[in-house]
């Protein structure tokens, strides 16, 4: 009997005990009817080959282990970045349970959203009644300042019209006539979570800006961060930089406080977020900057339509991307980049120089959202690394072209390949056939790490199996320092592990590296 009250074994050690190992071996032998071990071993080896890779990459219909989620997740994340805003997702209710769980598992924080709980009758007759009753219930129970409506694919397939439904609900006094209910249609069968983000932010801006007179306030800037699992660390870091520069700015969508509430005995269903008054005022800004272009394509178009200048970035991280971001800010605001920031830049460069021998020539596979992959590939090249595989399941052909342009700009990108629309099962073949030193992605990458032995660095949403990384910034020079350190830790830990066998590798287990 392996278990004892003195030393309680949970699943990790318990099932390694002989009683359980024997039991499982017997179960397999007598009841599971498995394939013979040799056949399994052969197939396993076959999946490592170029031949399998070609079959794998030729897939047209099947998607296995994609690195993307659906639109409404992005809409719910977006809405969480506005003052006292409740997400109301129109359609089936299970979806909302999924978005909330997904966000909570990453942020280790509450994630609130309601559903209009449509069922079979609503599928036949439409979900108007659900909208009318639902808005009334949400308004009364959760005391929001704004309700942001998005849709699940069910409501999209049956063609429910949010605009007219919301008008109807207001006619029936579900919420006061002047209560803010912006909306976005977010079909799950178009694009991904980054498009849902785009749609919701645009929906909110349109709601407040439409028909309003714009009086340009020179030098003021709106900043749209995009869907970002690291918003807690990033937004705060960016605000620090902006404050140092003395720029007059408004974050449009800022979930950094919502997903980082303190524990002091009070549960805050709402915290932080862009003030509604500030959203209205933001119409007058001279320019709107997007930190993630592929998250904000439609929103930026809209900003241009109302007369604002726009500029966009790809998750400004590392040296040159941060330089560009700051210089653009400086150009629009007319504010100089202060000396303190120049010193910060110097410290990041200093750190990179200190560690360059460990980074030069390292090969990477990078996957994630399009802007993030662009950012990481660029930073990796700044450290002398080679971004061998750059993959975005939700990457478009435009992204692919832009990536190729980036890679062509550096000798470190000359052997790099771009994989738009591919999934992590494709990545598995890539890692077996053209191995790399390090894999950069999210928690789902742990299966690739296990299968291929490529060390995984978690820098991208969602991160479920490591805690609190998202509380630290990746953007800016400070963020670059964090990314650099994370990569180096992975390299050194691996080297120590590989040289730690006493009596075999007493050499190479160096105290100073």
């Amino acid at each position: 009997m392996p278990q004892s009250a003195e030393k309680i074994l949970d699943h990790a050690p318990l099932f390694r005990e002989s009683e359980y190992r024997q039991m499982l071996a017997k179960k397999k032998l007598n009841f599971e009817c498995p394939h013979p071990d040799q056949i399994v071993a052969d197939q396993r080896e076959f999946t490592k080959t170029w031949e399998y890779r070609e079959l794998n990459l030729a897939r047209e219909a099947l998607v296995v282990n994609p690195a993307k989620a659906c639109q409404p997740l992005g809409a719910v994340f977006a809405a969480a970045g506005f003052e006292r805003t409740m997400s109301f997702v129109h359609g089936s209710q299970g979806c909302v349970a999924y978005y909330r769980s997904h966000l909570s598992r990453h942020f280790k924080e509450p994630a609130s959203a309601v559903s209009s709980s449509m069922t079979e009758d609503a599928a036949v007759f439409g979900g108007l009644k659900n909208m009318v009753d639902g808005l009334a219930n949400t308004y009364q129970l959760y005391d929001p300042k704004m309700i942001a409506v998005s849709t699940t694919c069910m409501a999209e397939v049956i063609g429910d019209d949010l605009h007219s439904f919301i008008e109807n609900a207001k006619d029936e006094n579900s919420v006061p006539r002047d209560f803010d209910v912006p909306f976005a249609h977010t079909p799950a069968f178009v694009g991904s979570h980054v498009d849902g983000y785009d749609g919701m932010v645009k929906g909110i801006l349109e709601h407040f800006w439409k028909g309003q007179e714009r009086t340009e306030a020179a030098g003021t800037i709106n900043i749209i961060p995009g869907f970002d699992g690291f918003c807690v660390g990033n937004n705060r870091e960016l605000k620090r930089l902006l404050d140092l520069m003395g720029v007059s700015y408004t974050f449009i969508q800022d979930a950094s406080d919502q997903f980082d509430t303190p524990s002091d005995g009070e549960y805050r269903m709402y915290d932080g977020g862009t003030n509604i008054e500030d959203v209205k005022e933001a119409l007058n800004a001279e320019a709107t900057l997007s930190l993630q272009y592929y998250n904000t394509r439609k929103t930026l178009e809209y900003c241009e339509q109302v007369g604002q200048a726009t500029a966009s970035f790809h998750y400004p991280l590392g040296v040159q991307a941060t330089d560009e971001f700051l210089m653009e800010l400086s150009a629009i605001s007319g504010k100089e980049i202060p000396e303190t920031i120049r010193l910060e830049r110097g410290r990041l460069v200093d750190a990179m120089a200190d560690s360059q021998s460990w980074l030069h020539g390292k090969k990477y596979a990078i996957y994630g959202d399009p802007d993030f992959v662009h950012a990481m590939a660029r930073f990796v090249m700044e450290t002398g690394g080679e971004p061998t595989h750059c993959l975005a399941t939700n990457g478009t052909s435009a992204w692919e072209a832009e990536m190729k342009e980036l890679l062509a700009s550096s000798p470190f990108g000359k052997d790099a390949q771009v994989w738009a629309g591919k999934d992590l099962w494709a990545m598995r073949s890539l890692l077996f056939t053209e191995p790399v030193d390090l894999l950069i992605g999210n928690s789902y990458g742990k299966y690739l790490e296990r299968d291929t032995g490529t060390p995984l660095i978690r820098l991208m949403f969602p991160i479920f199996d490591r805690h609190h990384h998202h509380r630290f910034a990746l953007m800016g020079y400070q963020g670059g320092l964090r990314v650099l350190t994370t990569i180096l830790d992975k390299i050194f830990d691996k080297l120590d592990r590989e040289t730690s066998q006493t009596g075999v590798t007493d050499y190479s287990y160096d105290l100073t590296r």
């Binding site: 399994v40 349970a97 449509m118 069968f189 598995r428």
Partner: protein, 497 residues
């Protein structure tokens, strides 16, 4: 051992009244039927008879129900754990993504080669699939699975919302492709808008086993006299393994484990067994009733949470098989008695009298109660996401007078109830975890065992006791108040043991 206590029914009734007063009238009228305070009959010691809430009806919109959908019930619960089959999340990408690897149905196998549990297979529907239908795409997907994952022993097609709305014929595709590839292919009509919760998805999944798996192949297997199936154990954190080891020790032979760590063969052979042992009654009673009707296999509910229930269950199960097994069962009970005594001696003094509120799915809100009571803890409130009337009837055997009962609780209600009751521990899900902890109240996830487990069986009970203790007696609860702000701390931490 049954702990004797009574709950503060008057306070609970007041809390119910208070939350209802905050709803619009129409919603209050609906919600009223789902909330109650358990009352016993006239005779002392009688089973609490009134947990009579309405259940298994539609959630009202806009209130933040904690429920999921039929797809979650089928792909997430019943089918997902069958490890040697590929389960296609058929429709847009999200459903499969959010449920990917989240239920902790443990298994052993070579993932991606002969086992597919922690993978996400999706047809990733695009607009054109909605407009033109997805049947052609599904055909191609099945062919591609056969090419890339040839050691799969079958495929299920888990329909997401759009499939049923656009009129795809996944049954025809499955039938044709099954013939072509000589494989079991099961279409499951678990579109998320069907029914009112996960529950209909369980039922639909059960029916799909009946219609698409049973009696389709010649099963060259003859059961012995002690062959049983374990039904409704999903092997979360290894639960089914910690149960199987006991069943084998008392001399039984587990032919099939449904569906944690199961292979298709285990499902196919099930009708040959002598007895169905059902743990999660809510999600799998349907197939037990079918097997009883069609194959004459009796079924028996049991409970492997906590020593009181484990002992009672082992005796009940053994009785079915006669003296030889009964004798072995007594030996097993005696063998584990010192472990149980040591665990209780260690943890009961640290947990005695602590109050617990539960809100889980369809079984655990009653099944785990005695495990807490074995540790001297008191259940003050409990409720189900997707129980039916027969579950609430069974709940009466577990709860004490005055217990707060909430069916399909809303986020608002749960928060207010917890605030009003201030229990020492809440056991619920990931969506509830962080709000509760912000309030300074210890919490354990009771769906995923909070990444721990197993909790079933004697080995599991020790882990359960440890986890409850570490949740309640962690020093962090005493740090919530900044010392320069005057307010008593809620914490009452003890040093770790």
């Amino acid at each position: 051992m049954s702990l004797e206590y009574k709950n503060d029914g008057a306070l609970h009734a007041k809390l119910v009244e208070e939350v209802l007063s905050q709803y619009p009238d129409k919603a209050a009228k609906h919600r009223k039927k789902h909330l109650s305070v358990a009352k016993s009959g006239d005779e002392a010691g009688e089973v609490v008879s009134e947990c009579d809430v309405k259940s298994n009806i539609k959630s009202i919109p806009g209130v933040m129900t904690i429920r999921g959908c039929a797809y979650a019930g089928s792909k997430g619960v019943v089918w997902g754990p069958v490890k040697d089959m590929v389960h296609i999340s058929h429709g847009p990408v999200g459903c499969g993504q959010y449920s990917w690897s989240q239920r902790r149905n443990y298994y052993v196998g070579t993932t991606g080669i002969d086992t597919f549990g922690t993978m996400q297979f999706t047809s990733d529907f695009q607009e054109k699939d909605i407009v033109f239908g997805g049947d052609k795409k599904l055909e191609q997907i099945i062919d591609e699975i056969e090419g890339l994952f040839p050691l799969n022993n079958g495929i299920t097609v888990q329909s997401e919302c759009p499939i049923g709305l656009i009129g795809d014929d996944t049954e025809a595709v499955s039938r044709n492709k099954a013939r072509e590839h000589g494989k079991t292919i099961v279409p499951v009509r678990c579109e998320g808008f069907r029914g009112v919760s996960q529950s209909l998805g369980h039922h639909i999944a059960n029916d799909s086993i009946r219609d698409w798996v049973f009696d389709k192949k010649d099963i060259g297997f003859e059961a012995g006299p002690y062959d049983v199936n374990v039904i409704g154990d999903y092997n979360i954190g290894g639960d089914a393994w910690a149960s199987r080891i006991l069943l084998e020790e008392i001399g039984l032979c587990v032919v099939g484990n449904w569906s944690g760590d199961a292979t298709l063969a285990e499902i196919e052979r099930a009708p040959k067994a002598r007895l169905n042992l059902i743990h999660c009654y809510r999600s799998m009673n349907y197939i037990c009733r079918h097997m009883e009707e069609k194959y004459g296999i009796a079924w028996m509910e049991y409970n492997f949470f906590g020593p009181s229930q484990i002992e009672a269950s082992l005796r009940k199960i053994a009785k079915h098989f006669g003296p030889e097994i009964e004798e072995k069962a007594e030996k097993v009970i005696a063998k584990y008695r010192p472990l149980v005594d040591a665990v209780i001696a260690k943890y009961r003094p640290r947990l005695e009298g602590n109050t617990v509120m539960l809100y889980v799915g369809g079984l655990r809100p009653r099944h785990v109660i005695t495990a807490y009571e074995d540790l001297g803890m008191v259940i003050v409130g409990t409720g189900y996401e997707f129980a039916h009337n027969d579950d609430y009837q069974r709940t009466g055997h577990y709860v004490k007078n005055g217990t707060l009962i909430y069916d399909d609780v809303t986020g608002y209600e749960l928060e207010k109830f917890i605030e009003g009751v201030r229990p020492n521990l809440v056991g619920s899900g990931i969506k509830e975890k962080y709000p509760v902890q912000k309030m300074g109240i210890p919490f354990r996830q009771m769906h995923s065992w909070d990444y721990s487990g197993p909790y079933h069986g004697y080995d599991g009970f020790a882990i359960f006791a440890r986890d409850v203790d570490l949740a309640i007696n962690n020093p962090v609860w005493g740090l919530y108040q900044a010392p320069w702000k005057e307010s008593p701390s809620h914490g009452r931490a003890m040093a770790a043991e």
